[in-house]
């Protein structure tokens, strides 16, 4: 078996033993119970309300679980000098890095699958399938993001904080851009500069607000072109993060 695959399998095994499946199930149960409770007070759209809340909660829960799993696993390995031991093996750094990410990405895909199944209670299978594939790629991107920051910082707290900040900014950037554009009518130079800055940041961030959209579950699957563009953006940015992580690891004297 290829070395990267063996590494990936070990990472997947670690995720299973670290309680990720139970935490995922607890997340599903909590989201479903909360949505069922809130739907009791809804006077209309009780089913879309449940679908929207469960999807939003599970998406956030999935991102959090994947980011913390990757960051804690990497931070532990750095602290135990396991990473240095691994680097002393006759395996290239690229193989080690990609193997590690493949394991985390595989657990992210399983989390996405588990989180999508309850949505079949309220939404059409085609819409859920679109949402599930998008969530799987989004969580794989978060795995790459968390791995990049964990390897760069080597500690749990900065890695989780950086991943969360990056993720939230990527999710809100579309709205931030529209707010900045809306106030441009009588904009001062400072406001214009702020808008350019926001636009510049948007160039180097993924458009996470266009992916895994709850609308798809409520109003039907997205247009093929929009959907393909959203997924392509996720794949491209994941590859970019992996490349950045490899550059960082290969340049380091370890």
């Amino acid at each position: 078996m290829h070395a990267a695959t063996i590494l990936a399998r070990n990472v997947l095994l670690e995720a299973r033993r670290s309680g990720l499946p139970w935490l995922g199930l607890a997340g599903v149960a909590a989201a479903v119970v909360l949505a069922a409770f809130l739907s009791q007070v809804a006077l209309t759209e009780s089913l879309p309300l449940q679908a929207a809340l469960v999807a939003a909660l599970l998406r956030a829960c999935g991102a959090f679980l994947v980011a913390v799993t990757v960051a804690s696993s990497t931070a532990r390995e750095v602290a135990d000098k396991g990473l240095e031991l691994m680097l002393s093996l006759p395996l290239s750094r690229t193989t080690q890095y990609l193997g590690r990410w493949m394991g985390h990405a595989a657990s992210a895909v399983l989390v996405a699958l588990a989180f999508s199944l309850p949505l079949l209670l309220w939404s059409a299978p085609v819409a859920v399938a679109h949402w599930a594939l998008s969530l799987a790629l989004e969580l794989a991107l978060i795995a790459a993001l968390a791995l990049f920051f964990s390897m760069a910082f080597g500690q749990l707290l900065p890695a989780v904080a950086a991943t969360a900040g990056f993720y939230l900014l990527a999710r809100a950037l579309g709205t931030i851009q529209s707010i900045a554009q809306g106030s441009l009518l009588e904009a001062s130079r400072v406001q214009r500069a702020a808008q350019w800055l926001i636009d510049a940041i948007a160039f180097v961030l993924p458009r996470l607000d266009a992916t895994t959209r709850t609308d798809w579950l409520l109003y039907g699957a997205p247009q093929a072109g929009d959907y393909a563009a959203a997924l392509a953006g996720l794949v491209l940015y994941t590859l970019l993060l992996l490349a950045a992580g490899l550059v960082d690891l290969r340049r380091r004297n370890l």
């Binding site: 006077l43 759209e45 089913l47 879309p48 309300l49 929207a52 939230l168 709205t175």
Partner: protein, 242 residues
Amino acid sequence: MSADERPWSSLPHGLAAAFAVLLATQIAWHGLRAQLPRDARSDLPPAPRSAALRLAAFGEDAAIARLAMLYLQSFDLHGGNAVPYQRLDYPRLIGWLGTILDTDPRSSYPLFAAARIYAENPDREKARLMLDFVYREFLKSPNTRWRWLADAALIAKHRLKDLPLARRYAAAIDKYTTDPTVPSWARQMEIFILEDMNELEAAKIMLGGLLASGRITDPAEAKFLRERLEQLEERLRKARKR
């Protein structure tokens, strides 16, 4: 007790006592707070901009729009209120409904609440404000929002006794809807507004038509509408007895 735990008796008495006292204090504190009179929450805060709501949602527009509706619904809806919503500041309420609708324009919740709950306020001015909001929002997307203007037309006729307003709304449905799936009774609403039928008969025709066409699929909405019809029936029966 598992093998890696020590017995309870190994705890210092002071620590165990402090834990018990703090737990009891927490429960007592919560109990005392629960006895305080609850905030009536009748003062609706000003509506945020839809961009602010979107920003707070981090891309989950559909979810935040529905949560905001539940939040809005919780205002002035308490058991002690003989007539819910009548104290609400309607311009603010309309601001909220508009913001929520801007956040998720495809949600039917804000217009449902506007036409079927807030427009039934006994204060005629407030009811008019709400009907006007429904009309303005209808014009933005007639093919998907005609249902709520049909409701508004009935309220204008039977509650406000304003036949010209009811006819204006009914005529707007015919004039602006282009979707062939809009039922004929909705297009001909002006005729049935002019007919001499009471509120119950008109409501039955409209809601019966909606239910028969499969447009009302949500169980909560179907339950709400059934209850509304029963209440209407009861009210008209009492009025006839008098």
